[in-house]
């Protein structure tokens, strides 16, 4: 069975979704990720969905769930690289993912995670100062 790799980068975990998500894969990712967070004591999770082109309400809910679960395990979640079509679909489905932080790309997402780890109040914006 295919599996989504979870890479460790220092205090953060990097998840790159490069295949079409189906429900079982999403459940497996949720399972793996929570296990890895508690194993590695990660402080942040970065989910890159730039290659994800099709999304349904289940995947949307799963993203929200992963963010909520990570927060309970004391890790921030940032979803990066969402495609315009995916964003429109999620909005039309009525899912605004209120608990999920977002960034344009992996770079911006990493910056956001580092800032929040340093205890700065970064309300979803990254300052370049």
């Amino acid at each position: 069975m295919e599996k989504i790799p979870i890479l460790r980068m220092g205090q953060f975990l990097l998840v790159t979704i490069q295949v079409d998500m189906h429900d079982r894969l999403a459940m497996a990712l949720q399972e793996d990720l929570t296990t890895r967070i508690s194993e590695t004591a990660a402080r942040g999770v970065l989910i890159d969905i730039s290659s994800l082109e099709i999304v349904d309400s289940f995947i949307g809910r799963m993203l929200g769930n992963i963010a909520a679960m990570s927060r309970i395990l004391d890790a921030q979640t940032v979803v990066v690289g969402m495609q315009p079509a995916v964003a429109i679909t999620l909005v039309e489905l009525g899912m605004s993912l209120p608990g999920v932080r977002t960034a344009l790309n992996v770079d911006a997402g990493m910056e956001l995670l580092k800032l929040s780890l340093n205890g700065h109040r970064a309300n979803g914006h990254v300052s370049r100062r």
């Binding site: 990066v80 690289g81 315009p84 964003a87 429109i88 909005v91 977002t102 914006h125 370049r128 100062r129």
Partner: protein
Amino acid sequence: MSKGVQNPKTGVLATVLSKDESSVLAEWIKEMAGATRRTDLMNDSELRTQCSKFLKLLREGAESGSSDVQTASWQPVRELLTEISRSRAQRGFTPTETATFVLSVKKPLFELLRDHVGSDANSVAAELWSTTELIDSLGLFTVEMHLKTREEVIRRQQEEMLELSTPVVKLWNGILALPIIGTLDSARTQVVMETLLENIVKTNSRVAIIDITGVPTVDTVVAQHLLKTVTAARLMGADCIISGVRPQIAQTIVHLGINLLDVTTKATLADAFALALDRAGLSLEHALKTA
């Protein structure tokens, strides 16, 4: 209603036309000299060409024996009428004026038919009826084509307006502005949202300013569309600022009970731009000093 059967009646029409085409033409043009002529929109020689072409094709259609204008033998006549109504619709002829072009041929035709058939009332009536049926269906076809042309023009203009109305402007590195002019409906929101999101990806912008100075009224539907766009941009990792909120619009929004608390709003585009610069870590004073 394809009759398909040979109609002997159109045979008489064909004979009349082949014999007296020129006199029908002269009578017809005289007939059209009345109110529906519109010399301001079309000159005499062009009208004469159109008329003689039509009579020639009408004769050929009548010679084929079929009286159903939807059949293949009437194809050339239909094509000519399509062309005529199209050009007239574009020049600004009314549907009545366009239809009268075809319908006014009745009088000269009927006179000729009466002369040709003779005094037998029954056959004259039968002949007139079949001809009137034929000309009427051609007239209806002309009106239909006229309307279709107009609808095409309207549709094209709508598309052009849709394209014109969604320019995404880059104000600074990482700062986009989207001035919206006119009322937001679902179709426009879709286009606005798509262009904005695509440009956010293309220019890697973290802040997008939606300026609604040109939106005349904001009701619940428009507000909902705006919120959707803001949410979609947030999902992609960009911040949206709504600017150009006029006092009346602020009042309306509150009276309607729309919750814009999660969205940053500014009164003017300048304020929004200053905030965007601040978020990007740039300051305006610095820019002014170096300038």
